[in-house]
Assembly symmetry: C2
Homo-oligomer: 432 residues x 2
């Protein structure tokens, strides 16, 4: 697309720009917005439970009573009212932070962007879970990091595998900078890093000199239990904690945060100023006012019940319609991680799924190394239960047709039914 | 600060992080917020003229009527309603753009950040005006660009100087990627690039293969005339236009935009997704609703009158109290650029000015090469006229004392009165 003769700037782009490729997530947003498609793809939270009258009154009050600060430029590190409320939220994961330790950001994605900017030179290794969050892979790629997946099991990253991987990379002369994890209800696997494993990971990272990046947007969305104590609470100097209000309040405001050791925090603030001058004072004021004046814990409790019901609908439908698929059973968050029967290639199958009016994210999106083709992320966060069930029903039809293809024509060497070259890489919007 | 033994991550930061230094702007925000200081430093717009009842009603309506989109994740490129309104605003500078050409960003600073990210490798040269916007220098530094200042006169960048500079840099083996300009009421000099000069610059940049970056937040804030036709309107394939609602509506919402040629625009969107996933859907909806339903042109007219009055107050006070200073006479925008008598060093003098309860930005902030010490940027955007006059009165007292020092002890070799080493680099907040 960008290499045509029509582009006067072809050849002038930065090296890092060549690593930026069309995001499947972006394409899938477009698919998800069509009413006829059941999207099990997106990570959009439901807004059904949001008290709109209350939020409407809050935003109006923020204009009428606080315009001089809420509509003005603010500090690059964030507003003190937001910092205070965030410090309060951090107690829910056992972290005792001073409000001044908090850097408020334009969503937690931006916190990760700033962190990678100040920590990672091109070619530096960042270790991520296998699979890992697609948005993190995008940031890392955009700074030319060398991404390495480490083995995980049902308790999170396997410490010995981490030690071996880091030794191998260092023996090859590479700088290994950080381990990036989503420890609660991981995106995409749904796995929660256990308490014991958290202790082990903190120890291993300290020993190896790796910065531990704890991306924790789903901490409060456990269905049956309270959140575990954060990695951050176990080593405040060794862990950068990233938080978000996108899952528990509203993503449209773009408010997230980072908590980092002081010197690193100072660098994050400088990077934030270069990037956006300051986060939105208005969004921060709205979030702080909501947290201070509303019963947000009760709202989170409602969300938990809502998402639990949707998870149950998804798992029930999968058991009924796709009994041969291997499915994780998440105890919180938004996602299940599914291995389809016969190891069907989920990227190759996606265009046909979208034609059958159901969308998911193929497992390859969560791997920087081309892996994951047998897996799909199915999210249960956005459609209501009956739509989820209908989506799985449609998916099962597609899978059955795909299995028939494989039985008739055989699978390609990678387990992929033979399809025209290129199909597997095409974003869903281009093919539907 | 970050190099102490207490920082476990000292030595682990990226190379680009070492180029990020404490922003004088950030420090000055803190100074400006103290009521006893007259800040002629900040670039904060006045919010006095904002129709708060109307804006309050708009934000409430955006929640109550549009929550499903306004509080949700959106497209990485921005919301179509905002794109449409921005395309309409672009007609004021003679640019005919399709809404789909617009990338909505988290303020125009973020647009510049994304642009530098996709265009500039470490060591690549970006040419900027002399002096240039401090925030642009910060972004360029954070991507390890080699910044070169080109000579300017009362009509903008001098084309021959640009040609010579680029030839010199290329002869030295460096990639020269772009020319960055603020063509209306420049920050900090107040100079507007003339219509004839715009044609010349577009031609020279096309001939040299330089991307022209047109940062135009003050376009609508001319006191005596309508904006000139944009550089973008003269070469839509060769110019990236950056716009902002921070000066004409409200910076607290963080809404800006970029208009770029298609292939480059696609890269900006990918970079935006990696950086923040998407801009705030809520802020975009508020801005779009305001632009569509309110008489924003009338509001801008009110702002022009307000800023004209403040400029006149500043220029009048300078003529009265600092008759020996050389002062630019801006016909719009927020800033005057002042050369103090005797070439006093404005960075060295700043702590004493803040002690005398007046703040400005020293000229060195607007130079990547250490130049500008004899200059100061005085802004007239934020304090009301009587405060501006009082600020200049205080400044004159400080200048007089400084001149006496120079007369008694002599100036340092750089024209700077001898002060303890280090003082000149200290942000104002640390010294007051």
């Amino acid at each position: 697309m960008t290499g045509t003769r029509l582009d006067r700037w072809h050849g002038a782009y930065s090296r890092r720009a060549t690593g930026m490729t069309a995001s499947e997530i972006r394409a899938l947003f477009a698919v998800a917005s069509r009413p006829e498609v059941v999207s099990l793809a997106g990570g959009m939270p439901t807004l059904d439970a949001l008290p709109l009258d209350e939020v409407g009154a809050i935003v109006r009050r923020c204009v009428e009573e606080s315009a001089a600060t809420a509509l003005q430029y603010g500090s690059g590190q964030g507003d003190v009212l937001a910092q205070e409320q965030i410090a309060d939220v951090m107690t829910t994961v056992g972290s005792d932070v001073d409000p001044d330790d908090v850097v408020v950001t334009t969503g937690s994605q931006h916190a990760l962007d700033l962190l990678v900017r100040v920590m990672v030179d091109p070619g530096d290794v960042v270790v991520v879970e296998s699979p890992s969050y697609v948005g993190a892979l995008g940031v890392l790629r955009s700074y030319e990091a060398a991404v390495r997946h480490v083995a995980t099991d049902e308790a999170g990253v396997v410490p010995d595998a981490l030690t071996e991987l880091v030794a191998r990379e260092r023996a090859a002369g590479r700088q290994v900078k950080a381990l990036y994890v989503v420890p609660h209800h991981q995106n995409p696997s749904g796995v929660t890093t256990s308490a014991a494993r958290r202790d082990e990971l903190v120890d291993v990272c300290r020993r190896l000199g790796l910065l531990l990046v704890e991306d924790d947007p789903y901490a409060l969305l456990g269905f049956d239990s309270e959140p575990l104590a954060s990695l951050h609470s176990r080593d405040t100097d060794g862990v950068v904690y990233l938080g978000s209000f996108s899952k528990t309040f509203a993503p449209g405001l773009r408010v997230g945060w980072a908590v980092a050791p002081p010197a690193l925090r100072a660098k994050l603030v400088l990077a934030a100023e270069a990037s956006v001058l300051c986060p939105s004072a208005f969004s921060q004021r709205v979030v702080a006012t909501y947290l201070r004046g509303s019963d947000w814990r009760a709202h989170v409790k409602v969300l938990r019940g809502l998402y639990r019901e949707r998870r149950d609908a998804l798992l029930g439908a999968l058991a009924r319609h796709l009994p041969d698929a291997h499915v994780t059973r998440p105890d919180g968050g938004f996602f299940t991680w599914v291995r389809l029967p016969d190891g069907l290639d989920t990227a190759a199958m996606l265009p046909r799924a979208v034609a059958a009016r159901v969308a998911y994210v193929p497992g390859t999106a969560f791997h920087a190394d081309g892996g994951g083709a047998a897996f799909a992320r199915l999210s249960f966060c956005y459609p209501p239960p009956d739509r989820i069930v209908e989506g799985v029903r449609r998916l099962a039809t597609v899978v059955a047709a795909e299995q028939e293809l494989v039985a008739t024509f055989g699978a390609s060497p990678t387990g992929v039914p033979r399809v025209p070259a290129g199909d597997a890489d095409r974003p869903a919007t281009d093919t539907a």
